[in-house]
């Protein structure tokens, strides 16, 4: 087990995800402890830890734009055109996000003085949001494809008919088409955990730039919680590569 932990930690992404999880766990804890005056010391330490993790991760993100550009070159060659388009645009937006993020880092440490930090930070959040939207589009496309395939499967059709005749008093059964659709969706997600995990991760991640850009302001607690969940899912998919969505 120790070997597996070490192998995980040796990947640059592995460590980054652990730091990210810690960062958002701190943010969540700070939010939960905000109204407790006797825990001010602990809150100060958590804030310091969160800031250090964030600053450290920004430094470690230098050079990640190259990774995304290489990934974009690879996804351009996928056989499924729509999938390739979604992933390529997502990767390009991620690369732009990293470039803006690196510029903000350079401004923070004083290497570049003449840029407007707020504007570059907002742009970084915008590109991050676009890449998440493209990833969600891809997830939706894959789910629809899988649902179509499953709907044509005869074994599934018989299970569906059994389900529809089972509980007529349930609310959704009033609209049998809706009930059938939800059943199909849930069965598809259950049989393909990779897509389900990726969708949940992307939805959780979405709250972070939405809050930052002011499009949908949630509280620091919600952002912290969503960030923590998405980081934990990220750690899970890295530790168990079978749970990672491909490509």
């Amino acid at each position: 087990m120790m070997d597996a932990v070490l192998k995980f930690a040796n990947q640059s992404q592995g460590r980054d995800r652990v730091f990210r999880a810690t960062q958002y766990a701190c943010a969540l804890s700070i939010y939960l402890l905000r109204n407790k005056p006797d825990r001010k010391d602990l809150v100060a330490r958590l804030k310091s830890l969160e800031n250090n993790m964030s600053a450290g991760r920004k430094l470690l993100r230098l050079g990640n734009a190259a990774n995304s550009i290489v990934a974009a070159k690879q996804t351009m060659q996928l056989s499924d055109r729509l999938l390739g388009l979604c992933l390529t645009v997502a990767n390009i937006n991620r690369a732009l996000y990293f470039i803006c993020d690196n510029a903000v880092w350079a401004k923070n440490v004083g290497l570049i003085r003449s840029i407007n930090k707020e504007r570059w930070s907002i742009n970084a959040s915008r590109y991050y949001l676009f890449s998440l939207v493209m990833n969600l589009t891809r997830d939706l496309y894959v789910i629809l494809q899988l649902m179509q395939k499953k709907g044509r499967d005869n074994r599934f059709k018989s299970r569906m008919n059994q389900h529809l005749s089972d509980c007529p008093e349930v609310a959704e059964a009033v609209i049998p088409e809706l009930d059938a659709l939800i059943f199909l969706l849930l069965e598809t997600l259950r049989s393909e955990p990779t897509v389900a995990l990726d969708t949940v991760k992307n939805i959780c991640d979405l709250f972070i730039p939405l809050d930052r850009l002011g499009i949908y302001k949630s509280s620091a607690g919600v952002v912290g919680f969503c960030g923590l969940i998405s980081s934990l899912i990220g750690i899970l998919t890295l530790a168990r590569p079978t749970l990672r969505i491909k490509p």
């Binding site: 070997d3 040796n10 990947q11 460590r15 310091s48 430094l59 990774n67 290489v70 004083g110």
Partner: protein
């Protein structure tokens, strides 16, 4: 681009680049200080160096476990000198990482009343012991290779000390030239050793020299990562 990506995905790769950048900043800061120019830039460089140092400390969290695992592997080596040097070297590295983690916790404020100077010194002491053991291992490997060389050339010992010394140095040079992994490792450890010697006050050389040594050893380390055949095994 692909080799950069592969290099980047290894956690150690990024850490080495950061180390090289940190010591480059140290050297640059010293150069600017010597020429008494651009105090603003000097301040930025020293802040950047501190930022990189703290981030590297963050990356080192958990490295003690790695060093202990490495010690568990080297304890099974057949050669007794190698076994001793490498195992104790790894154990010292594990202690260095543990002390370094405590210093990090103190620096960012998780542990409040911490004597940072004391723990810093402790960590550098363990680092120095680990480096001394690494150099011992390098010298041992060199002696083994020289013995092999001597087996093949049975020549009469020259009467003059100076001629004998020159011949020996030439032999060492040839052996090292034919064994690039050993040469690189010896150079790297030789450069690294000046860092704790300076920090502990045993042999103070100044930030310029320390920066140069640190930069050189980081570059050598990056080269061995990019070309794994250059890494000394075990």
């Amino acid at each position: 681009m692909d080799s950069w990506v592969r290099f980047n995905t290894q956690s150690q790769g990024k850490e080495r680049v950061l180390r090289a950048a940190q010591y480059a900043c140290m050297l640059l800061g010293y150069t600017l200080h010597k020429s008494s120019v651009a105090t603003d830039l000097q301040r930025t460089i020293s802040e950047l160096e501190a930022h990189m140092s703290l981030t590297r400390k963050l990356l080192r969290l958990g490295n003690s476990v790695e060093a202990l695992q490495a010690a568990k592997t080297t304890i099974h080596l057949s050669d007794s000198v190698l076994r001793l040097c490498l195992t104790i070297g790894h154990l010292n590295r594990a202690m260095y990482f543990a002390c370094d983690n405590v210093v990090w916790a103190g620096k960012i404020g998780i542990i409040s009343k911490l004597d940072q100077q004391k723990w810093n010194h402790r960590s550098f002491r363990y680092y120095l012991f680990a480096l001394i053991l690494n150099v011992t291992r390098d010298v041992y490997e060199l002696c083994l290779l020289l013995d092999c060389e001597d087996c093949y050339r049975i020549t009469a010992t020259p009467a003059v000390m100076w001629v004998w010394l020159r011949k020996r140095i030439h032999q060492i040079g040839t052996v090292l030239y034919n064994n690039p992994p050993l040469l690189l490792d010896l150079l790297k450890n030789g450069c690294d050793i000046f860092i704790p010697l300076d920090k502990l006050g045993i042999y103070q050389t100044g930030p310029g020299f320390v920066g140069t040594c640190g930069l050189l050893s980081s570059v050598l380390s990056i080269v061995t990562m990019l070309h794994p055949w250059l890494k000394l095994k075990p």
